[in-house]
């Protein structure tokens, strides 16, 4: 399980000069993986009788063709960036966080509760407040499986999956009754939340809102935390070798709990953005948890892996995958192939990226002029 973190930590510990090139070199194989995934997509398009070139041209135009398209792509990429940065923190600590979905939901719930409790707080205070509430909600939902892993040895993959299920039912519990819009037809959604919590639209004439700024700030903070703080140094040391870290006097249990708490907090902020940056400005549970999260808890894993588990590169990869999601709509319109294709291709990308890790480690070392080092892994 720690194999991935190991191979990357190894190179970061020993080769200072190669440090700045590492993400680029590490991107060679993922880029090949995306090309391979797009090839699979082309075959699928062909099978459905659509012209793959037309399809991909429409996808590209729909994602990056103009200011509105670029803004739509940015909007789609916000949850991916936030979850992805959290995934970087967890995976670098050697903790697999599959609980993004639940953490998004709990962040959204706590942020919604704050907005319902404090509707009259002025916007400049309430907007940061609901974002922080989202972070706290998701953070708690991450810290629980973190502590269970650290202190009771509970496999975090399973506990985070269970926490997803619990969060999904908890949301439907709240929206069935307590938080449901009063007087309306029984749809699982809150009333329109206070305007004071709306994420302001950025100038420029597009629909892009402040959420993108929040995501970028979190990404920079995530980078500083992981690579420029002693806390991050400890997290990465634990990810690299928990036994050695313990021998060196580090509190491994605390680091594991912190990592999942930070990871959950990032996802929780994504949940808050999904509520207050949505066009309806409410928490909607109708259609199930997956409809609310848009699978960002899983897709964020894709973008983090693709970004080499580096927060800043995860921003770039999230933007690319946001483009796939935004462009998928144009693709569907142009060649009548449902945009679900994009989700399927995301899965193929994950498989290719992790499946090519053996290869990737080799490329990285070659780029660092270290090919002679024995590679038996």
């Amino acid at each position: 399980m720690l194999k991935m973190a190991d191979s990357q930590q190894e190179s970061s510990g020993r080769h200072d000069i190669g440090r700045y090139f590492r993400p680029f070199a590490g991107l060679v194989v993922p880029a090949a993986a995306v090309i391979a995934a797009l090839a699979v997509g082309a075959i699928l398009l062909g099978v459905f009788g659509a012209n793959p070139l037309t399809g991909y041209r429409e996808l590209f135009t729909g994602a990056f063709g103009g200011p509105d398209e670029l803004a739509a792509t940015a909007l789609k990429s916000i949850p991916l960036m936030l979850v992805g940065v959290g995934i970087c923190i967890a995976f670098r600590t050697g903790v697999i966080n599959i609980g993004g979905e639940g953490q998004i939901i709990m962040g959204a719930i706590l942020a919604t509760l704050v907005a319902l409790a404090l509707p009259d707080v002025p916007r400049p205070i309430l907007v940061p407040l609901v974002m922080i509430a989202g972070g706290v909600g998701g953070g708690i939902w991450g810290a629980i499986p973190g502590a269970l892993k650290a202190y009771s040895g509970v496999n975090e993959i399973l506990s985070t999956i269970m926490m997803n299920i619990i969060a999904g039912f908890f949301m439907s519990f709240l929206l069935e009754d307590w938080l449901i819009e009063p007087g309306a037809i029984r749809i699982q959604q809150t009333k329109r939340l206070t305007q004071n919590a709306d994420l302001p639209i950025l100038p420029g004439g597009t629909r892009l809102h402040l959420g993108i700024v929040v995501a970028l700030i979190v990404a920079v903070l995530g980078y500083l935390l992981l690579f420029r703080s002693s806390l991050g140094m400890r997290l990465r040391a634990v990810g690299h070798n928990p036994h050695a870290s313990r021998a060196a006097g580090m509190k491994v249990e605390m680091s594991i709990t912190q990592a999942l708490a930070f990871s959950g907090a990032c996802a929780g902020i994504a949940g808050a953005v999904l509520v207050f940056g949505s066009e309806s400005h409410r928490l909607i549970g109708e259609g199930g948890p997956l409809a609310f999260t848009q699978s960002a808890g899983f897709n964020g894993i894709v973008t983090a892996l693709f970004g080499g588990l580096h927060p800043l590169f995860t921003v770039l990869s999230s933007y690319l995958f946001g483009g796939m999601l935004a462009g998928g709509i144009s693709l569907q319109r142009a060649v009548q192939v449902p945009q679900a294709l994009v989700i399927a291709l995301n899965g193929v990308v994950v498989v290719f990226v992790v499946g090519s890790l053996k290869l990737r480690t080799r490329v990285q070392r070659w780029a660092e002029g270290d090919i002679q080092m024995e590679d038996r892994a």
Binding site: I157, M162, G347, V350
Partner: protein, 311 residues
Amino acid sequence: MNDFFTVAIITATLASGIRLAVPFLLAALGEAVGQRAGVLNLGVEGVMLIGAFAAYYTALETGNAALGLLMGLVTGMAMGLIYAFITVVMHAEQGISGIGIYLFGLGFTDLLFQKQVGTPRPISGLQTKPFNWLADDTGRAGELLFSHTILTYVAFLLVPVIYWLITKTTFGLNVRAVGENPQAADTLGVSVNGIRTAAIVIGNTMAGLAGAALALEIGIFQQNLTAGRGFIAIALVYFGAWRPVGVMTGSLLFGIVSSTVLQLQVQDVISGSVASIANMAPAVLTVIVLVVVSRRIGQPAALTRPFTRDG
């Protein structure tokens, strides 16, 4: 309130709980085999979705539910070969590549459904009820035990079969060996990769079958039909401490809780919000069990660890 506590309704609820347990049971038994060989397959959910769509679409086009079941099984097997290549040959991180399989299954089946079917059209499920003739004469107990389709009996029969396979056969011994200490097994001439591939294919075939069982039980397909059942099945393996009987107990628990909650809601005994809390219960219980299990019983020592000759 009183309406629920009649023998007839309780019997019907338990019988439906047994039926709802079948997809959990099939998927979790298969996952247990894979994990005993040291391979975690987090893609069960995706494979179940693929199996479910294959079964649904086949049954829709041919009107033959049994053929649908077969297609679910075959697609599961195919996914097993793919997953074996990814994890055994390419040494991919098992937790993450499983998420890739899940996303692929989720998107791919949604794509196929929208493209090939469009609007949800119901299919008729499996009608073969081999012991139904016993149900009429034996009253309530008969309804509980004999009113099921053949698939339910097959699923529960697989519990002793898998137990026998893992504990009493050479293959099972090899499975456990490569799951506990692949290096030692290798020095004794056991093909670690071969055994793991076989275990993965068995596991995925059963996951495909589980999806097919679900689609035929519900009689419809829609996006994300499995709704987390595949993920629960993985947890049930830990819940049951890698033992078939434990896995069956967990599956029945989840099945009966779901059917009871559903029945109570239909009878208007509980509101939707209470039902959500009740539905949460098995997941909470699983977390608690995970805490207990992790202290007492160890998982297969080489779980999630790719095999290399030099460790």
